[in-house]
């Protein structure tokens, strides 16, 4: 094979070409840089899915072992709080989409507004989560050997403790993602307000948007798994 003449992209060291200040030295074009970042983000999201996938698999296996305990334990969860949280996160995903759109169309202030709305939704989510956790603490519905709830139907079974171990681990890990997301979104909002993003460069908004949708999606799986499925 012999490649025909390829026009040599002049890199950052080429002569007389104006470069976006966001373009890193090892990329030839902004498109190339954007596509690469996106591939990177999708790969990262794949690892996230697999991480949670491991926990989902573990939960499923344990549910198989303690079917009665798991059904009984899930009755202790507050379905209304869970449902509210689901709606809150769905709304936040919507505002996130609007934020990306605004950033892409050179509307920095608007993007910042939507981003703050997303942060607010995330905040509401965390407050409701805290309320739910508090309830569990009071009832003694705690992971592992901290579990001291009274009056279970299958007395002495370790299944309840296992259920709440998984509950706290999975919602906790998800909550950690929400917190990280809030920090990132706040940082984006500040930058958007400052006018850092434009149709030529909005990669961070786009990528963190993807991350935020994943956080949302994981909850969409967690909610029925813990609150609804019998």
């Amino acid at each position: 094979m012999s490649t025909t003449t390829v026009d040599l992209h002049s890199g950052p060291h080429g002569e007389g070409e104006v470069h976006d200040p966001h373009q890193q030295h090892h990329y030839t074009t902004m498109e190339q840089q954007f596509d690469t970042s996106k591939i990177g983000m999708w790969l990262f999201l794949a690892t996230e899915v697999l991480t949670f996938g491991g926990l989902f698999a573990g939960f499923g296996l344990m549910q198989n072992r303690y079917p009665r305990e798991f059904i009984e334990a899930h009755e202790h969860l507050q379905r209304l709080a869970g449902a509210t949280n689901t709606i809150v996160l769905l709304v936040s995903s919507f505002t996130m989409v609007l934020a990306v759109l605004a950033a892409k169309t050179n509307q920095g202030a608007k993007a910042a507004r939507y981003l703050w709305m997303t942060v607010a939704c995330a905040g509401i989510f965390m407050c409701i989560k805290a309320y739910e956790y508090n309830h569990k603490f009071e009832e003694g519905l705690l992971p592992g050997y901290f579990y001291h709830h009274k009056g279970d139907l299958v007395a002495g079974s370790h299944g309840y403790a296992t259920f709440f171990s998984f509950y706290f681990m999975m919602t906790g890990l998800h909550g950690l993602h929400v917190l990280i997301g809030m920090v990132l979104l706040g940082w984006l909002a500040v930058r958007a307000k400052r006018g850092d993003f434009s149709s030529a460069y909005y990669t961070p908004v786009d990528l963190i948007g993807l991350f935020w949708h994943l956080v949302d999606m994981i909850w969409i799986y967690l909610f029925p798994l813990y609150y609804l499925i019998k």
Binding site: G40, A46, G53, G54, L61, G144, A161
Partner: protein, 551 residues
């Protein structure tokens, strides 16, 4: 020497530039904050080589402890079972997590992958640096457990023993967890780089086969490591909160841990061996001065090995309490691994056929690889045959088998690649005589060490045994003596390489007559890799347009 790969002038014709990536900036800070893939690769190389030294020291201690059944040295009893258990655990952990997994991808590939693609850097240079820092943190944490009393679970951390032992296991698990992310970052980076940063004109099937191997490795790193991470977290929480998933005392299932663990750790075996195979695919055509035979077959076999690696984890559990049906399925799938491995070996041999073969040190390592990996691969058939596995599993036969693959395969390829790219990385030629002598000694020492382990394994010597029956004493002694030969060979190699930094001749841009793009730039390369963007004109390994070179 003639270069026809590029429109641009060949690097050799450039006046030697005073500046290269090593001396453009100086000072410790410039290295610690660098985002140059070459410098990160060099730092990784120092790191993994140190880890190899530490892991190797533990291996020597393990062998020394087993020198005779009385565990004496000059008539003195110097080691007990607890210490021995820590030795082999540390040997395993250091070699697996700190050396083999990052060895080729994070050090050599980090350096040459962008060069081979004709790129200026990897896709995410800062992530690359973050990966290095995570590795350092993981390494410090992991090795520090030795001071805290040492871990005695074996590198597999099987429950419930790992849930009950008083060893500082949580620290060790934390270290492995962090190292996992270091590995994920590397893999993610390389995949994105291969997708987007290839030189103009370089299609997927114009990439050097080394890139294919590293790309396949990246897929495994991305897809398997997260599961290890979560498994280690679950084990940590099991130890501290008693959640009852892996620990039978609380209703957990120890076999479940093994499934989770091997779901990562079997693909991890291919994270280790694929880059090794990738290097051999470079060495053999270069030193045979002939185009690679069956380019696509080798490329596809790398990818198919990566995918197969996810389907065979159950073969670690043939006697561990897995259902008979699962055993049969996993046995069948495991056999399939033989096919792409065989395809590679046969294609390498065909590449040598009618070649023009010279035996510089890297080629000697490639031949070592062929011999040792063939033994390692063929002994795999014993284990995939279910009935025979019952007798052999958990004996020294397994220990010997995976050392032939991991060390005879990966580590040998790593050292071959190290010698191959050493002139490119450092700009210096090492001494060929000492390099060759070390390569030959490695082959001898390796076989003395591990062939005797095959023999005692077949005769029923279980692994991880401190005390052993007198009937195994001769074989243990041979194995220990072999480990000393290996030690001498590696020390010889290290001195030879390090001495070249001071006394070595200046390396030309392309000392071996290689056809891939890393040879187009200076040795050592400039910070931005190439003076001009290289463009691909011929498929890789095309020797029709080249003058034959010989050092």
């Amino acid at each position: 020497m003639e270069h026809t790969l590029t429109h641009g002038t060949a690097a050799g014709e450039h006046p030697k530039p005073a500046k290269n990536y090593l001396n453009e900036t100086t000072g410790v800070w410039s290295w610690m904050t660098t985002i140059d893939h070459k410098r990160i690769g060099i730092m990784y190389l120092i790191g993994v080589s140190t880890a190899f030294g530490i892991g190797g020291t533990f291996a020597l201690l393990v062998r020394l402890a087993l020198l005779n059944p009385q565990h004496t040295l000059f008539g003195k009893h110097w080691v007990d079972a607890e210490m021995y258990n820590r030795f082999f655990t540390m040997h395993g952990v250091v070699m697996v997590f700190l050396f083999i997994i990052p060895s080729i991808p994070a050090s050599l590939a980090n350096f040459v992958l962008p060069l081979m693609l004709g790129a200026r850097d990897v896709a995410f240079p800062r992530l690359n640096l973050a990966s290095l820092y995570l590795w350092v943190i993981g390494a410090v944490l992991g090795i520090s457990t030795m001071i805290m009393g040492g871990v005695d679970t074996g590198w597999t951390f099987y429950t419930p023993y790992s849930a009950t032992t008083s060893a500082p296991l949580v620290i060790m698990l934390m270290a492995a967890f962090i190292l996992g992310f270091s590995s994920i970052f590397t893999g993610l980076n390389f995949i994105a780089t291969v997708h987007k940063l290839r030189a103009p004109g370089m299609g997927w099937f114009d990439m050097p086969l080394f890139i294919w191997g590293i790309y396949a490795t990246g897929i495994i790193q991305i897809m398997a490591t997260p599961v290890l991470a979560i498994t280690l977290v679950l084990l940590m929480i099991e130890r501290t909160f008693q959640i009852g998933i892996f620990d039978s005392r609380f209703g957990g299932d120890p076999v479940l841990f093994q499934h989770f663990f091997w779901f990562y750790s079997h693909p991890a075996v291919y994270i280790m061996i694929l880059p090794g195979m990738a290097i051999i695919s470079e060495l053999i055509p270069t030193f045979s001065r002939k185009t690679i035979f069956g380019y696509r077959a080798i490329a596809y076999s790398s990818v198919s090995l990566a995918l197969l690696s996810f389907l065979v984890w159950g073969h670690h559990l043939f006697v561990a309490g897995e259902s008979d049906l699962a055993n049969v399925v996993f046995s069948g799938l495991t056999f399939l691994v033989a096919l792409p491995s065989g395809v590679k070996v046969f294609n390498w041999l065909s590449t040598m056929y009618k070649g023009n073969i010279s035996f510089e040190t890297p080629m000697l390592y490639a031949l070592n690889f062929l011999v040792l990996f063939t033994i390692g691969g063929l002994t795999g058939i014993f284990f995939s045959t279910l009935a025979v596995d019952i007798h052999l599993t958990d004996t020294y036969f397994v220990v010997a088998h995976f050392h032939y693959v991991m060390m005879g395969g990966t580590a040998i390829a790593f050292f071959g690649g190290l010698h191959y790219w050493w002139p490119k990385m450092t700009g210096k030629m090492y001494n060929e005589f000492w390099g060759r002598l070390a390569a030959v000694l490695v082959l001898i020492g390796f076989n003395v060490t591990f062939m005797s382990q095959f023999i005692m394994g077949g005769r029923g010597m279980p692994r991880r045994y401190f005390n052993y029956l007198d009937q195994f004493a001769p074989m243990h002694m041979y194995s220990t003596i072999g480990s000393w030969i290996l030690a001498v060979a590696f020390i010889m190699m290290a001195i030879n390489l390090l001495a070249s930094l001071k006394f070595g001749a200046q390396a030309p841009a392309n000392p071996w007559g290689g056809t891939t793009m890393e040879w187009l730039t200076d040795s050592p390369p400039i910070t931005h890799n190439f003076h001009e963007q290289p463009v691909l004109e011929h498929e890789p390994y095309d020797y029709r347009h080249r003058e034959v070179t010989h050092v």
